[in-house]
Each structure stands twice: as structure tokens, then as C-alpha cells.
Symmetry: C2
Subunit: 356 residues, 2 copies
């Protein structure tokens, strides 16, 4: 395989294993698996999910919904507070497929009721502790939205949805599962409150760390993890995947070596990997683990080798003596990304799928 510039290498076997593992945990329950496709954004990776019976998906923008609708997906939740400025595209989408929107204000709902041409599903976005967006469980606006939906033909209330993004800063599995339990209970209580009038109402739960760690989903009607399909150093750091579960690496050419300070420079920077990082007290910044790369795959991280700084196109790697001498300018090394969603977004025009 001829790699000349930073290229996202996607290991199809690992991707399939990651999908299968998540799907198999749901066999015991009725829980719907509606994976988030924002991590890969690629129709050909999306199509792998079909082999596991998945026919409902999540995306994070109207643009992404259009792209996957064109790729044949016909039941899509746009898991982002509805952007009313994209109403024309939303109306085009709903001509042909089922779309669910997230709502958390009467202002948005008012706009939708006046401008929607076709029916949409409405999820009320609930803030279960992440504090990014959504309504808290006892906000009186929730009842108003429920009431509003019941009176408007185009607005079909689907239920309550949360993203437990605070699992990313939790300390260990027990704390992650505790967050999940709290979120689940908030959603269950809301469902209980409205189920008499809306017997089809459902609750939808997101985030990869808890969905990877948990085994019991039976009280959730739906889960929407996304990152698990690729995983990354952040998930490994949290403890929600093993190194072997990381399904992507960025293959980068070596362009310079600095033996006196045990560093080498790669063609691979912020425009390929993103600036997401893991920091430690001692001014240590980790922008990715370094692996040996060959056409069939990659090694475990090389002990003592780190991507320690990046600028627009340059990446600087610290390396142990034993390794730097083996590397030649023009060699390809691999970087396991800190945050695969942002990295894959930057390399949508530069990727290769291996182990097909």
C-alpha cells in the first residue's frame, strides 16, 4: 500500500468486532441499537452495521443526515438541538425518510409547527448532569413541549433523550456506571410520568464509555454510542476499551530526526489529528501514541514513544534511543489518535480500509 501523506487506516476486522461486541450485549434486551455515525461519517463504514441488523442511526448535523439518507438510511435521529435555519433541508429529508429532531424550547417548537411540511419525531433533550444543553428533569418547559406535540399533527412525540458526556471525566468504571444509573433513573421517571397519555414514548441514552462498560440495558429503549466503532486513546485512558479495540491509526511519513534530543518529526499535525490531547501536571501533553505500522496493521504502542506536540502540519515525537535508530526518513509510523471522531473528520478525504 503506497502511503505518501497522513492517512487514516481503518481496520475493518476491528470495526466489525467492535460493532458485534456492542450488538451482542443487546441481544438479551429489547433495547434498540441506534449507533451514532458522527465518529466515522463514511457510508462504507456505515454499511458494515447492516450486517448486524442495524437499520436506525444517529447523526449530529443535518448535513450528515443528508449524506446518510443518500446512502440509503431511512430512519435517522439528528442528535443536536434542532437548527431551525436548516428547515428547508429538514423538509426535503422528511419527504422520503423518517427523521427525529431534538427539541428543548418552545421557540424552536413554534418555528417547527409553522414551517414543517411533513411529520417528524420529536425527542425532548434532557440534561442529566453533563450541563452542555437540554432541559433538567423538572423544568416546566418539558410539560409544555409534551402538550404542544400532542396538539400538532407534524410533531410526533418520541420521548426523552440524553447524552451522558460527563462519563468522559469520570474516574473509573464504578463512577461511570453510577452516572449511567442516575441518568437512566431520570429518563425512566420522565417516561413513567407521560406514558399513560403517550404509550409509545421511549427513552434514548448515549455515550460510548458507559455503553462499553455496562452489560445491562434493559430499562433503556435505545442506546446511541458512536465512538466505540473506532475507539481511541481517550477511551483506553478512561478504561472503556482495550488497545486492541482501537480500530484506527493515522499512518504518517517521517520527515526529520533529531537524535540529540530523541525526537523525530512526522508529516502529521493539527489538520490531520486535531488538537485534542491528554495532559498531565508536569506540562506533559499527549497528542497520540506511536505504533509501528505495516500494511497488514499496527503494533501496540511503543513504550516511551509519544506524540508530544503538533502544529498545523508537523508532529513532534519523543522516542527512546533503541527505537529512533531503527527509523529512517521516509518511513511510515502510526499514531493512535486521542479522539477518533475529530481525527476521522479531518481525514475524510484521506483514508484506507485494511483487513477487508
Amino acid at each position: 500500500m503506497n502511503i505518501n501523506k497522513p492517512t487514516l487506516i481503518i481496520d475493518k476486522k476491528k470495526v466489525c468486532d467492535n460493532i458485534k461486541r456492542m450488538q451482542s450485549k443487546l441481544n438479551a434486551s429489547e433495547t434498540v441499537f441506534r449507533p451514532h455515525f458522527k465518529t466515522h461519517q463514511l457510508p462504507e463504514i456505515g454499511s458494515l452495521f447492516r450486517n448486524y441488523g442495524i437499520d436506525k442511526i444517529t447523526v449530529s448535523s443535518v448535513s450528515m443526515a443528508k449524506m446518510f439518507a443518500n446512502a440509503g438510511w431511512n430512519d435517522i435521529t439528528i442528535a443536536f438541538p434542532v437548527n431551525i435555519r436548516e428547515i428547508d433541508d429538514i423538509n426535503s429529508l422528511t419527504e422520503n425518510i423518517k427523521i427525529n429532531l431534538l427539541v428543548e424550547s418552545i421557540e424552536s417548537l413554534d418555528f417547527l409547527s409553522r414551517h414543517l411540511i411533513n411529520p417528524v419525531g420529536i425527542f425532548i433533550k434532557i440534561d442529566t448532569g453533563y450541563n452542555r444543553t437540554g432541559l433538567v428533569h423538572d423544568d416546566p418547559v418539558i410539560e409544555k413541549i409534551v402538550d404542544y406535540c400532542s396538539k400538532c399533527r407534524q410533531l410526533s412525540l418520541h420521548g426523552f433523550l440524553t447524552h451522558a458526556g460527563h462519563t468522559y471525566s469520570a474516574k473509573g468504571s464504578a463512577e461511570i456506571l453510577k452516572i449511567m444509573e442516575t441518568c437512566k433513573n431520570i429518563l425512566k421517571d420522565l417516561k413513567q410520568k407521560f406514558i399513560i397519555d403517550f404509550p409509545d414514548i421511549s427513552i434514548s441514552y448515549g455515550d460510548t464509555p458507559s455503553c462499553q462498560i455496562a452489560d445491562d440495558f434493559k430499562d433503556l429503549d435505545e442506546i446511541r454510542p458512536g465512538n466505540f466503532v473506532y475507539n481511541d486513546v481517550m477511551q483506553y485512558h478512561i478504561g472503556s476499551c482495550s488497545l486492541d479495540d482501537i480500530a484506527v491509526t493515522v499512518a504518517c511519513p517521517v520527515v526529520a530526526k533529531h537524535l540529540s534530543r530523541n525526537e523525530m518529526v512526522i508529516y502529521g499535525g493539527a489538520v490531520h489529528l486535531s488538537k485534542d490531547r491528554i495532559t498531565a501536571d508536569n506540562d506533559f501533553n499527549l497528542y497520540g501514541y506511536v505504533v509501528s505500522y505495516n500494511d497488514g496493521g499496527w503494533s501496540n504502542p511503543i513504550p516511551g514513544a509519544y506524540l508530544t506536540s503538533i502544529s498545523q502540519e508537523h508532529g513532534v515525537i519523543k522516542l527512546p534511543d533503541s527505537y529512533i535508530e531503527e527509523i529512517a526518513i521516509g518511513d511510515i509510523i502510526g499514531i493512535l489518535p486521542i479522539h477518533s471522531c475529530l481525527t476521522s473528520n479531518l481525514l475524510l478525504n484521506s483514508y484506507k480500509i485494511i483487513n477487508q
Copy 2:
């Protein structure tokens, strides 16, 4: 102007003022202005430079060189340690235009001498204190490279090049000018050392902070600032531009408001703005200043309003009471980016030029 999603707004008048200001500082000297085009990466912004007599440019990748060669530029320095894996593209480029490459090892030079079809200009990359890449001034490899070039028909020694990236972490104008002086002296000494054998040898100096602050370039044969064309919050923070000199803002739709915590959520996240930020001791992260936006331009930053966190598509803004009440869901607000190079790279397919 109909803006539906995060869009880079480029103020043509400010861009032209920024180019003119830099160009006018060079009138008194013989210094060549070879602007770095990695900041904008857009042929239509590039073409504005022609009005100021600029016909030589800098880019940071072979891909970018190809793009600007297609747009008619015929004298391009690829200011990145030569990536020998792209030799085929380099050979295609040099069929028609003049290309300068950066070299800092005999390994790369060996490869070039064996595979280059047409002549190229060679700049030796000098590390003048930034410690990212390049050779230090007394590295014996410099002499070997000079010697090698003199013996190889395809390798035409152009001189010594540095990027003073450490000006970005300098404290104030005096320190920035001091760094510039040090770098200049290192380059001048190198030139002096080799000029008898290479009378056309030149020295090339980069980075926006010092080129914006300095007035005297007479000892430099060439400067290569890039960011100055747009500027950003980082340049303002360093003190190398005024707020009025920032020529880009990202127009973003408001999608949610959280009055209880004085926050609103915009459609505008890490995939639009990048994760570059300015941090302060008290866990304060600044991902961009907030401005009022209208079709003709934007305001100064709103006091007390900050983009404080971003995820893939969401941006969370802290706002003062007085302002949050004026904003409605669906309104457009502007974000002055922290690092315009990374932001514009993410919005190459979503930009509008105003004040044309």
C-alpha cells in the same frame, strides 16, 4: 446573506488592509515578501496578493503547492521538511514551475539527488530556537548539505530558512523583537560564511508576530508571514494585531439558551473552529471571542461573552444578562477564532467573502 450553518466570513477589505500594511513596511528595503498561504488555502484570497505585486508564495505541503500551481502561482517554497514519499508530485510540479524545498539531512538530499528529474531550489532549514525542527547553526551537517548541493545539478542552493515559532510564547513586543534579532543574526552569520562560494545565497525568515511588530527587515532577504492575512485572537493576545485587524469571524446559528446559567449553545464546534484555545490558571478556557454579526461585518467582542467549551458540533457561550435576553434561537452570532489557520482549514467548504 443566508447563513444556515457555521460559515467562515472573510472581510475582503480587512484582508487587503492586512496585506497592504505588511507590504508597505517592505518598501524601504529589498526584502522579498513571500507570504505563507497555509492560513487561507484559497486561490481567491491568494489572488488578492497579486494587487500588491506579490508573485512568490510559501505553502506547507505538496498538496497545497499543487493547488496554488493550478491557480497560476509559479514560484513556490514548500516550507516543510521535504516529504520524500511525494517525489512524484514534486517532479510533476517542477516540470512547469519553480519549487523550493526544505532540507535538513543528508538522507533526504541523497534521495532527492537520485530521484529529482528537474532542478529545485534548496533551503537549509535552520533551528534558531523554536526547537521543532531544523539544524542548529553549528551543526556540521549544514556544511555537508552545502557541499552536496554544489555537486548536484538538480540541487540549487538558495540559502537558509527559519521559522521563529517561539515568538508565539514570548511575553510582549520587546521579547518578540529580541527573538527576531537573535534569529536574524544566526541567519546572517550563516550567509556570511557561505556567500563567497554562493553569491546568490539568501536568508528567509517567518512568523507573523515578529513580522507584524518589526519595522526593519533590511538584513533579511525574504519574509514569510502567513497568519497576518486573517489574524486571530491569539495574535491579538500576543499584541501583534488590533481587534480591527482580525479579518475573519465564524458565523454560527444559536440553537439553545440556558438562562439559569447565562449560557447559550451554538451550532459551531471543534469540527468548525478547531480545539485551539487560550487557557488561564483558574480552569478558564477561551475558544473564541463572541461578536454581534450582521451581513456587512461584525462588532468588537461583547464584554463578558466567551466561547468557553466546544465538542464536535456544539459550542457553549457564557454571556452577560444584558445580552442573552436580546438573542433568539435561530439568530446568528460571530466567533472570532483563536487560531485562524486551523479554523479556515476546517471551513474550506463553508465560507463567504464580504465587503467585495
